[in-house]
Symmetry: D3
Subunit: 131 residues, 6 copies
């Protein structure tokens, strides 16, 4: 259940439509997923978010697959169901194997466990970790 | 400020000491960081946690560096200061460049932003993401 | 899927019914939403929670609309789907425009991003922010 | 304890310096806070984050004070100590009274409580909240 | 909507099947819940997670009922819908009364509220709490 | 670093002082911890929070020790350093043994791990858990 209507192509403002065209061109697919159809009510945020995402997830030192896997990790820790599903699909689309996926999940779970233990115990950061 | 005393080597139970010896042998360093010195009050949890961590972070499909970077991402999302510092240091020790580190942070921040937007809007998961 | 049955009016204890009557009188509507129908199994918590909410969300320095918008922001950050929907509806009922709603979401997303960046970097609080 | 050095003015790259100049001009103060001095290691993220923040927190339907108060609410829910202090200072600088501040805190606390109750009970969203 | 298929008994690898047999023997029921059917794609994580859970939730100083109630509290704070439902059912199965359940929820809600207030105010830890 | 001054006894308003007197009488100690000294700037929230806490943590089905342990669990999951330290001290004061404390931590860590695994996998809730 969403708090705004998902906008269909014919309901887009010209500014939103321009962003959708760039999404299509960048991803080389006609499909625009629901995230953008919700954000399209606010063309300024739509444009800013898409351009940030395109920059952050674009070519760099880390591979596209690794970027998506980090995105999944954060989305799990924040409990965002939509993001978990969309980025798990993207990571698979960019070559994440099932073996890599299960390693990712094991790390996420392990980190959650030690994060909570360290927080509970109020452990002081070791001096050797100091920059 | 911690909720238990950090145990020094001469205060360890034999079971805890055995785990410390394995930590030293595995990491090839005499240094045992504060996380384990806090957990050492409970040798059963110490042993189970160390063995799980050794397994999860050990050789696999993902590189040691990538595993540490995923660990950082989760630790940031959980706000665990200790874990952020220890795993950032580990990732650098395993070859994470500053360029990779900044890409990681940009992804973590971006994911946090879109996670909250998607949650706020209650966006339905697209059918194409269905397994 | 809920962990307790939603109570209908004829299933309420006298103490729970008294709270429902106050909810109806305060909000000037016969409709009592599911949150209270779940809490009604525990009339003490029902009464305490309703009275706290009535006090906190009642007249004060901040407008009713702004109070609901802050409530949405917190609910998003906690990932509470029920609360997001009920308070988004309330905020709209108290005059939140779609423009204000989209500004709210943009702030929530932006804050999430910079929150995680600041936490990741372990940035020390500037002395000028000291009270 | 931070994971990167805070950069001083003479250590900035030209791109980072240009962002600092815009921060100073926009805020009409020579002081640039630690958040930007940490981010300055990555001029691309620095520039993107500052421009997004300037846009999101700039003139709009909501007052600058209200925007800062929403920012505080999110920062509290995410447990970002740096952000809590910097945005509480900003909100006061933009006119938040102590009375308004205490109302804000009361709402944040109340929302946290009902968020967790609603999540624990798995309460279904009422049909009347449907868009 | 899940990211992996739930495995049925005839789809299990021999290693996963061995874990399922231990789950059945330990719990004295033929029913194996969806959590394990999802994890079964990765027999190493399945085995490690089950053995850790069996150890942590097994006989100790705290009663099985209390252990499940603590598990519920954590699951609510992390917003894990699956875990909330499965552990609420387990706690009831181990004797949690409805009165105890409602006390648990009241504590979880109250803690959430004071957690956020203390974080917002940046309250320094009292010296008397020092170990 | 806090966002408000901790109030000393001679700085309290009469309404805040009355709450402090009740805290002292209820706890049978002259010591009033920093949490209340921060909240005392807002006597209405101070009084409401104290009375709610007194009710929730007062006599009931669960022992005072168990109530404090649940409080710790929630505080850890929310990353509230102040609350972790104050409630760990309280739990010890109410008889929590070190063995019980370590069992608590192990459960909190384990729950964090399985919470994130279940969320990542999007596991559907089993029909048998339905109320």
């Amino acid at each position: 259940m969403s708090t705004v209507k998902l906008l269909e192509d014919h309901e887009l403002s010209p500014q939103a439509n321009a962003v959708f065209e760039d999404i299509r061109a960048t991803r080389q697919t006609d499909y625009v997923n629901n995230f953008w159809r919700s954000l399209a009510h606010d063309p300024v945020t739509l444009k800013r978010t898409w351009e940030s995402l395109k920059s952050v997830m674009g070519p760099g030192s880390l591979s596209p697959k690794m970027k998506e896997m980090i995105y999944i990790a954060v989305s799990v820790a924040h409990g965002c169901d939509y993001c978990i599903h969309s980025h798990t699909a993207s990571a698979r689309g960019k070559g994440m194997t099932e073996e890599e996926y299960h390693e990712l999940l094991a790390i996420v779970g392990m980190a959650a466990e030690t994060n909570r233990l360290a927080t509970a115990l109020g452990i002081p950061v070791d001096a050797i970790y100091k920059v």
